[in-house]
């Protein structure tokens, strides 16, 4: 029977769920602090992936070594864009948060169009030395294959999550970010430069997303159209977790990864997105503020 496939399906789900953490982490952070829904999150992933692709072609280095460069470049991009977003959300309209939404929606369209123009419609991959390797485990008549690059992706995701957690909990910067998320006015009165911190937060979001794009490129493939798929993944994870509730993101990401990989093995792959959507719908009906009811 198919139950022999179960360990492999669960392992795949967990490994890929790990990557989904980083797809959604920056997004959730940006929402928690700035109340910005970033429709462009998938496009940042796409742009990061292509920067990694070209840098690799240019330098010949392993993509995993290029991660810090991609992070630095896109943190700068995010830092620079944040003031414009701020301007969009500080208009006098009844619901300025929604203007931020429209703004990032426009940003998404523009980046996607630019990506299609510059990068074309072809798919690429960013092979790492780890891409070809895998380990084969056997225990009690059950077999699992652990592709090295997926394990690397998982470790990367856990690492980023741990670093971000440490920064938020144990540094002055993290304290300022949390203060800002709690109460902007009070944070300002305590001498926190809201503008600069916001720019950093958006910068980190863009940087982490772009870096994740490179990792995704060395696991799967990249194309200029890939952005939308990852935006929707980020949405799913964040809504499941509860909007702005960072601690829920890893669990939601694992759940999503598991659902996907189990559906791939035991269900019809073309219905995967629909199944995920149905689950999300039910959760929104039962517990509108995410799995843990901690969302905004």
């Amino acid at each position: 029977m198919l139950w022999q496939l179960l360990p492999q399906a669960v392992l795949d789900g967990l490994l890929i769920g790990g990557v989904y953490i980083t797809v959604a982490l920056g997004f959730s952070l940006a929402f928690g602090v700035k109340h910005i829904i970033d429709f462009a999150v998938g496009e940042w992933i796409m742009l990061g992936a292509f920067l990694g692709y070209y840098l690799q072609g240019w330098t010949g280095l392993d993509p995993l070594l290029l991660l810090p460069v991609v992070f630095a470049v896109f943190t700068a991009v995010g830092y620079a864009i944040q003031p414009v977003i701020h301007r969009a959300v500080s208009g006098r309209r009844g619901n300025p948060v929604l203007m931020g939404l429209v703004f990032t929606f426009g940003l998404m369209l523009a980046i996607r169009g630019a990506g299609l123009t510059v990068f074309g419609f072809f798919s690429h991959s960013i092979p790492s030395v780890m891409s070809a390797r895998s380990w084969f485990l056997e225990a009690g008549g059950l077999f699992v294959t652990v592709p090295a690059i997926r394990l690397v992706g998982f470790v990367y995701a856990i690492g980023i999550t741990a670093v971000l957690h440490w920064v938020l909990r144990h540094t002055d910067f993290g304290l300022a970010v949390r203060a800002l998320a709690q109460n902007r006015d009070a944070a300002g009165l305590m001498g926190i430069n809201a503008r600069r911190i916001s720019s950093w937060v958006y910068g980190i979001h863009v940087g982490v997303s772009a870096m994740t794009g490179v990792v995704i490129g060395s696991i799967f493939s990249i194309s200029a159209q890939m952005g939308g798929d990852y935006t929707i993944l980020a949405f799913f994870v964040v809504v499941l977790a509860g909007m702005g509730y960072l601690a829920g993101v890893p669990w939601a990401a694992f759940l999503l990864g598991l659902v996907q990989s189990l559906f791939l093995v035991y269900g019809n792959p073309s219905y995967t997105l629909l199944a995920v959507f149905a689950i999300l719908y039910l959760i929104l009906l039962v517990s509108p503020r995410g799995l843990f009811a901690k969302g905004v």
């Binding site: 208009g91 619901n95 929606f105 426009g106 123009t117 902007r184 809201a194």
Partner: protein
């Protein structure tokens, strides 16, 4: 002022009515027909997006739902066009209730995300289902009468516009929507039921989209998931409404005409650069949000100028939800 506006609307309607009598050029007729369709779509989007402040990023899904319902009922069920069209509108409205029930209870961010995801799910569904023809799409019986479709579109869009005008500008319903947009809790305190009203607005916004989708399907005679359920319908409706002026009826209509005219020229003369169109759409949306928060119509009526110089002091970082704390 009010009477002159009604006069202008009447003149516009009459001008559109006589256009087919003046030209025999089927291309021109086609362009104007589609322009009217976009007016309808943009104005309908604005019911929820502009008046109520809830952004529907899945407008195209309801358009496509109407198109597919009409096509499936006509081809598989052999229904007459008028009935199938009505069914498309009803189904789009029902889908709005189903989608809105869990999401419209929450803040607008959830709704925006959910509708965007819904559009993808619906497109995926049309791709995998048997009776929709999957990726091959569907062909409808050709009914090659441009005049018929012109007048049908004209009549439908006029009805949509007038109905929305009455409901949004001349009845309490429009005020309720705006109350929810400006301050949902305040509206609740006044005894309004925001969720119910928002769902009503959602239905009011999606039924026209579904009906227009049905007409489009019969008119173009071929639909597939990429054309009627793709992102472009949503993208264009949003940019038309935002660029024209949110929260008005004339604004989105003007935006629709301008953006559609631009698109027609662009695709006619620069057809090999179609993806550039996405860049332009995106840039127009983003720039209008930053520089023209009230759209073109805001510029014309002077509202835009009064609001342009914003945030003189650098410390103005208050998120809107904290602003009410200030006296």
């Amino acid at each position: 002022m009010r009477r002159s506006r009604a006069l202008w609307a009447g003149i516009t309607a009459v001008v559109f009515a006589v256009i087919p009598l003046l030209t025999r050029d089927t291309f021109a007729l086609r362009v104007v027909t589609e322009a009217m369709m976009w007016i309808g779509l943009a104005v309908a989007w604005d019911v929820l997006g502009g008046y109520t402040g809830y952004l529907n990023f899945g407008h195209g899904a309801f358009f496509g739902l109407g198109a597919y319902t009409t096509a499936v009922l006509m081809m598989r069920g052999h229904w007459p066009f008028a009935l199938a069209l009505a069914a498309g509108g009803v189904l789009a409205g029902a889908a709005a209730v189903v989608a809105g029930l869990p999401t419209l209870r929450l803040k607008g961010a959830y709704f925006a995300i959910a509708t965007w995801a819904l559009a993808r799910a619906v497109q995926q569904l049309a791709l995998v289902l048997e009776f929709t023809g999957g990726p091959d799409g569907m062909r409808l019986p050709p009914f090659l009468n441009p005049q018929f479709f012109y007048y049908l579109m004209w009549a439908l869009v006029s009805v949509i516009f007038v109905v929305l005008w009455i409901l949004l500008e001349h009845s309490a319903f429009g005020l309720k929507l705006q109350a929810i947009r400006e301050d949902e809790e305040g509206a609740m305190a006044l005894g309004l039921k925001p969720t119910t009203i928002k769902i009503q607005a959602f239905v009011l916004s999606t039924v026209p989209a579904g009906i227009l989708g049905g007409v489009y399907a019969y008119w173009i005679t071929f639909i597939d998931p990429a054309s009627v359920l793709g992102d472009l319908v949503t993208d264009q409706s949003v940019v038309m409404a935002v660029f024209g002026g949110l929260g008005t009826l004339v604004g989105p209509a003007v935006g629709a005409v301008l953006i559609y005219a631009f698109k027609t020229f662009f695709w006619a003369y620069l057809s090999e650069y179609q993806v550039l169109y996405l860049i332009i759409l995106g840039t127009v949306i983003a720039l209008s949000v930053v520089f023209l928060p009230d759209g073109l119509i805001g510029l014309l009526t002077g509202r835009g100028r009064a609001e342009a110089p914003r945030s003189p002091e650098p410390a103005d970082e208050n998120p809107p939800e904290l602003r009410e704390a200030a006296p």
